[in-house]
């Protein structure tokens, strides 16, 4: 028996591997250090979700509004573990995170200030059915909103996502901190079903609303992790749920079918939102100062190296 078949394979494999090794090496240059006289952005690799290059609040907006062109874009996830791992390892120098992400503080990332107001007002705002939210409920929710801010939200998200605490416990701790009672308000004021989107921040906010309403005597039930806005908003219109924690600009652009009416001004955005909601028997209450919106973050080392504070700093030469 001849083994020439074996030899044929061997030489074939050898030839192909030579071919592959000749063409296979792609240069992965590391970002240059030190001053080179080029815009800082052009020395950075941006990481974000794959839709980022075409989205007005992501790379496209950074180009149009700030005039920033990055060295490269790496398609990763929307503020998730891939983006953070890539930032930590230096595979990207700037990444898209969400402003209320608890790991921003925990990992010491520096969020660059949106000094030209690219992002719209995605402030947390309770959205509910007018019939279910009597005036005492509205007053209470507005009182909570007047205290809630982004760093509170980031702290609570850290407790949930990093310290793995229960959203119900985080919510009751927060209400205690801001002096809102969760018990002793009697009963029999009516039923309210509070829903949340399918992420932990929404569960925490829904629990904050629900536990406070229970405290003044409402009979509260929950539908947490109900789904995305395409599920939650119709459920509210149908009356399956009575209240959910919304985000002003995103709610407006959802209900007006992306007309582009939202602005960086939360009060104006909520006013426009209520214009659409009223006809459906719905209402958006006062927006809180807490925002959950696109935030462009760098590591502390990167911020120090180029003295970065604002997004517009990236257009300077460095």
């Amino acid at each position: 028996m001849r083994d020439w078949g074996f030899r044929a394979i061997l030489s074939g494999v050898l030839g192909l591997s030579l071919l592959a090794s000749a063409c296979g090496s792609s240069g992965g240059g590391s970002p240059s250090a030190g001053s080179s006289g080029k815009p800082i952005a052009s020395q950075m690799i941006l990481g974000g979700p794959p839709e980022c290059p075409t989205r007005p609040f992501c790379e496209k907006g950074l180009m149009d509004k700030y005039g920033l062109t990055f060295k490269d874009f790496k398609p990763l996830d929307a503020g998730g573990p891939l983006t953070k791992a890539a930032l930590d390892r230096g595979d990207i120098q700037i990444g898209l995170l969400f402003s209320s992400d608890g790991s921003i503080a925990a990992k010491g990332y520096v969020v660059l200030n949106d000094d030209k107001h690219l992002q719209n007002a995605d402030n947390v705002v309770p959205v509910g059915r007018s019939a279910a939210l009597k005036s005492d409920a509205q007053t209470l929710l507005n009182q909570i909103d007047s205290k809630l801010n982004t760093s509170d939200l980031a702290g609570m998200n850290k407790s949930a996502d990093i310290d793995k605490q229960d959203p119900a416990q985080i919510a009751s701790d927060y209400l205690k901190k801001i002096g809102v009672s969760t018990s002793g308000g009697g009963s029999g004021k009516g039923k309210i079903t509070v829903a949340g989107f399918n992420f932990s921040e929404s569960s925490i906010l829904a629990q904050i609303y629900g536990q406070a309403l229970k405290g003044i005597g409402y009979d509260v039930s929950y539908k947490l992790n109900l789904g995305n806005r395409e599920v939650v908003e119709p459920a509210l219109e149908k009356g399956d749920i009575d209240l959910y924690p919304g985000y002003a600009a995103t709610e407006l652009e959802f209900i007006n079918k992306a007309k582009g009416e939202a602005t960086p001004d939360p009060a104006a955005t909520v006013k426009l939102l209520n214009g659409y909601l009223q006809a459906k028997g719905l209402i958006a209450l006062d927006p809180s100062a807490a925002q959950d919106q696109n935030a462009f973050a760098v590591t502390k080392e990167t911020a120090n190296k180029w003295h970065l504070v604002n997004l517009s700093d990236l257009a300077k030469n460095g």
């Binding site: 028996m1 083994d3 591997s17 296979g24 992965g28 990481g47 075409t54 390892r89």
Partner: protein
């Protein structure tokens, strides 16, 4: 306009055939990654499978360890590799090599195991030394089955290399992952067609290689499209 017409238009758009984001570059990236991952897996797995099959020891161990490897989801390996090796080609390469090793180990073990013992005796009787018998008698007889393992691994790798786009690498998966993110159904569909077509080409090419590797007297028993070395059957026989 139906999605099929839109997909046809997508393919006809010259912008989709040019540069980094074009089909030729993505296809080439995909082929390179798949080829290098399969080759690396073969270099690592063949000696193990062949020697274990030849000596007939620790066979169950080898098969079981490589079957555990088969149960590891590539997606899991991919994501776990990111904190260690960064984004891009490295985690994808590792996940694909891990995917390709089990079928190659199993098939080369079973192929060597199933060589007729009388043939081995005859080789010895002719005065062949052990390594000569291994290389000139046992391996040629086992090659169709060994190659079937490489063929299975290669086609799986081509299909799975799509996942590399999740960790910011290129390849044809880019069209699918980006299409999802941009809610662009046409791009997803086009990407899926390209991956399916490439997997079929890989299947045919590796079948051809398998046929070439089969010693001429044994080819008669092998039809072009048959898969004499289907791993699932052989695991039952040999393991």
């Amino acid at each position: 306009m139906s999605i099929f017409e839109e997909v046809v238009r997508w393919f006809l758009d010259p912008a989709h055939w040019d540069g980094t984001f074009g089909i030729p570059n993505r296809l080439w990236e995909h082929v390179q990654m798949s080829f290098l991952a399969t080759l690396t897996a073969a270099v690592l797995a063949l000696p193990v499978g062949v020697l274990l099959g030849h000596y007939g020891r620790f066979g169950n161990l080898a098969i079981n360890v490589s079957n555990v490897g088969r149960a590891l989801p590539s997606f899991g390996i991919l994501v776990l590799a990111v904190p260690l090796f960064g984004i891009g080609a490295a985690p994808a390469f590792i996940a694909l090599v891990a995917l390709a090793i089990p079928p190659i180990v199993t098939n080369s073990y079973v192929g060597m195991r199933d060589v007729d013992p009388e043939l081995k005796e005859a080789a010895r009787g002719l005065g062949m030394r052990e390594h000569v018998a291994l290389l000139r008698v046992e391996m040629p007889v086992a090659l169709p089955v060994i190659m079937a393992g490489i063929r299975t691994a290669g086609v799986q790798v081509v299909a799975t290399a799509t996942l590399a786009a999740v960790v910011a690498w290129g390849g044809l998966g880019r069209f699918i992952v980006d299409g999802f993110a941009q809610r662009d159904d046409v791009q997803i569909f086009a990407g899926a067609i390209l991956v399916a077509a490439l997997a079929m080409v890989a299947e045919l090419a590796l079948a051809g290689l398998q046929w070439l590797a089969t010693p001429r007297p044994m080819r008669a028993s092998m039809r072009w499209f048959s898969r004499p070395g289907r791993t699932d059957e052989l695991v039952l026989q040999g393991g």
